[in-house]
Symmetry: C2
Subunit: 459 residues, 2 copies
């Protein structure tokens, strides 16, 4: 067989042991916090029926879905006329019945409807799995990436929004990342669109507002005028978007402005209630009402949530919101839910930029036993089993190679301790333990070694 | 949009919270043991270049690889002549460049070659990821399933085989499954083929022998004769395959039989050495030399390993062996390795059949706080945060629903304790804690509650 130069598809990644341990630090933290709040895990298959996914992510989304070719003699199943059309979209719908998961939300909606009779509502579920998108790969954007979602569905209580704030706060505290949680509400934005006299231009207005962070308010107002708003309307809107002060002050000013908008007032009262519940057990991080937060408004119907790093300018680390009809498309209408999704890749980049990964990530073996030959090896093996029984990760170098090579192995694999036993140690029933950082070496009994290790690894 | 009846592709599965917690029990046990032995994790992408996978799994394997349709206007990239051929194999090679991971071994080989300059050998890696095969789905066989592999490559020491026995033993001890580890060696089988005068019929002989478990020795001998072996040869082979006694006795008898076969004697000495090293720290389970074990001989070159349940007749729970040239196909020859793969689905079925899943699997929230209204909710929320800070998983029912409904929620979600506080408890600064199994209910201080819970959950 021919030799091939090995590589992987663009936009995909291999993860080495150090990267895996750092990613696990992130995933484990998120999972642990989800569980502390009573969320329950589900998993769905990597492949869904194509019909489950199509039409759920807009036209652009449909194009970015990876399709899986039908097995067997797929061309024979296509009508001659269709085959001769050579039309990509038509033919792909004839030769592909399955596609790769594009996000976790649509499969979750499908899951809830399919298994509705065995689910107890409200259903608090989390799901941490990879998704695939045929997006153009670029820095920080991959064709395979992980999503870490949690949703509560079947309850419209705002206590759920408050709990999500607690979860976000806990995850980032434990990861040692300082963040700002931004919150807004679709109903406030709808009230504002009414206030300035353009209630029917909600989509254009919010699409423009959402860019404030990137292009600034001046450009946003220019865009609004380009899109047909009057100067008067924009002049009325801008000071509202520029509102400063505490959340309480912002809400008070908005209550005056929006007093005639029932929807707007409802949005404000929802935000106020979330703040009130959150304050019962105050957050570590800052929680901020941000009227320019206007993402995801083709599905969010109430709260909109976004989390940013206070130290690294990298975009959103986590986002979410409330939606009123997740499962309607699959035949179960009227199920309200609220959810969030953590972006593991961005969180990784922030931890990397701030050097905040724990020192323990990247250490696998904690002890390497040097192999001087069969007799010495057999003397050390029971000691290693003993260490494992108390949770120490350790290994024996598999062959009696030169000691320099074995020490290099310890060094390159970031193994902090080396265990050795030659004739002298065996006679005394001792072991030499070498600390690879300091170079210190002492002859110890096995029990003393476990003490040293327990202390070092802080168990 | 039209309503669709939700479903998933055949051969794939949704996992509900109970199933996830049981699967995690299996995965965590295997991962923990791999780590105790100094193995390091890697992950590879779900999609590989099609050319990386093709030709690695035989003709049948090639057909079972799931191909991913190229994005964009894929038909326009196919030559008219090819398109008109309507030949499935030809066209799929023109419209698909990527495919789904079929196993973990080939991606691992590709990984090692691609990243060889940053890998320290011997490289002990583990990898636990899903794989996909377009196999006909049937009971216990899925199109998406998980593999849990560990390999040591770049070392031909038999200490690695011995370590793998220790790993298998530890995993199944911790899972509380009684198993038999079967071991054989390709070289012994080659010696036997020589002994009976048919060294060039190695593949036919071993393919037949491998079926002994399923069809019995009588049918195996019939098959061997059908395949052109003489009756004399089969009569010489059968008593060897029927050898009983201890491993030591079997090896002694084989040493007499194979004394003239250099290869056979080498195989025996390898098996003996593995047994000798294993005995330094004896196993809990039975380790058995089984001459009928002859699987995977198109890639295994030394040890062959298989694990079976002692109690449930369900096929192999774990398999592996030594291969001498894993990475040659990708341009890095001469790298010897030995590895194993645990079959999580079969292990799941055995634990299910024996009712050996720990009681804790399936419990997520440990405490549900009943929501009597905003005041009572706000009284309980800090207590829940307090419980979470010591690791108790707990939740507040999101709205002040009827208490019967809230208790049903606890019941259906397998939540063992319910926390309640009404006017009386709030006045006394206490909480009522109800044990859902016994129905017992007591008024306690928060510190007393943490004591009860710590004791119950054995922390």
């Amino acid at each position: 067989m021919a030799k091939e130069k090995p590589g992987i598809p663009k936009g995909t990644r291999d993860f080495d042991p150090l990267e895996i341990s750092r990613r696990e630090h992130i995933f484990n933290t998120i999972r642990e916090v989800y569980r502390l709040h009573g969320f329950r895990p589900i998993e769905t298959p990597a492949m869904e029926n194509l019909s489950t996914l199509m039409g759920k992510y807009g036209e652009e989304g449909d194009r970015l879905i990876f399709r899986i070719l039908n097995s067997g003699d797929f061309p024979s199943k296509v009508k001659e006329e269709d085959w001769q059309s050579r039309n990509a979209s038509l033919i792909s719908s004839r030769i592909c019945e399955k596609a790769l998961r594009y996000d976790l939300t649509v499969p979750f909606a499908r899951y809830v409807v399919q298994h509705q009779h065995k689910i107890t509502f409200p259903f608090k579920r989390y799901q941490m799995q990879p998704v695939w998108r045929a997006d153009k790969p670029q820095k920080g954007r991959y064709r395979e990436f992980f999503q870490c979602d949690a949703d509560v569905i079947g309850s419209d209580s705002l206590a759920n929004e408050a709990e999500i704030m607690q979860i976000i706060d806990k995850v980032f505290s434990q990861l040692n990342i300082d963040v700002i949680i931004k919150i807004n509400n679709r109903k406030i934005l709808a009230g504002l669109a009414g206030l300035i006299g353009f209630p029917d231009r909600f989509t254009e207005i919010t699409t423009a507002i959402d860019k404030t962070d990137k292009i600034g308010l001046e450009n946003v107002s220019r865009e609004l005028i380009d899109r047909g708003l009057t100067k008067e309307a924009v002049d009325k809107l801008l000071p509202v978007l520029e509102l400063t002060g505490t959340n309480h002050e912002k809400i008070q000013m908005l209550q005056d402005l929006l007093s005639s908008s029932e929807l707007g007032m409802q949005g404000l009262s929802e935000v106020q209630e979330v703040f009130d519940i959150v304050e019962v057990t105050p957050l570590h991080c800052r929680l901020e009402l941000d009227l320019c937060l206007a993402r995801g408004l083709n599905y969010y119907t109430g709260a909109i949530i976004e989390v940013k790093s206070a130290d690294v300018n990298i975009g959103s680390l986590c986002g979410g919101g409330r939606y009123d009809d997740l499962t309607g498309i699959f035949g179960l209408p009227g199920v309200s839910g609220v959810g969030i999704s953590f972006g593991a890749d961005r969180i990784y980049d922030v931890l990397q930029a701030l050097s905040r990964f724990p020192d323990s990530t990247g250490t696998f073996s904690q002890v390497l036993a040097i192999n001087f030959g069969p007799v010495e090896r057999n003397y050390c093996l029971p000691a290693l089993e003993n260490l494992r029984s108390i949770g120490v990760q350790c290994e024996m170098y598999p062959e009696p190679a030169k000691i320099k090579k074995q020490l290099q192995y310890a060094d390159k694999n970031n193994i902090p301790f080396v265990l050795m036993a030659g004739e002298e140690e065996m006679k005394k029933k001792l072991f030499s333990l070498k600390d690879m950082r300091t170079g210190d070496q002492q002859q110890l009994m096995l029990e003393q070694i476990t003490d040293v290790l327990m202390k070092y690894f802080d168990r």
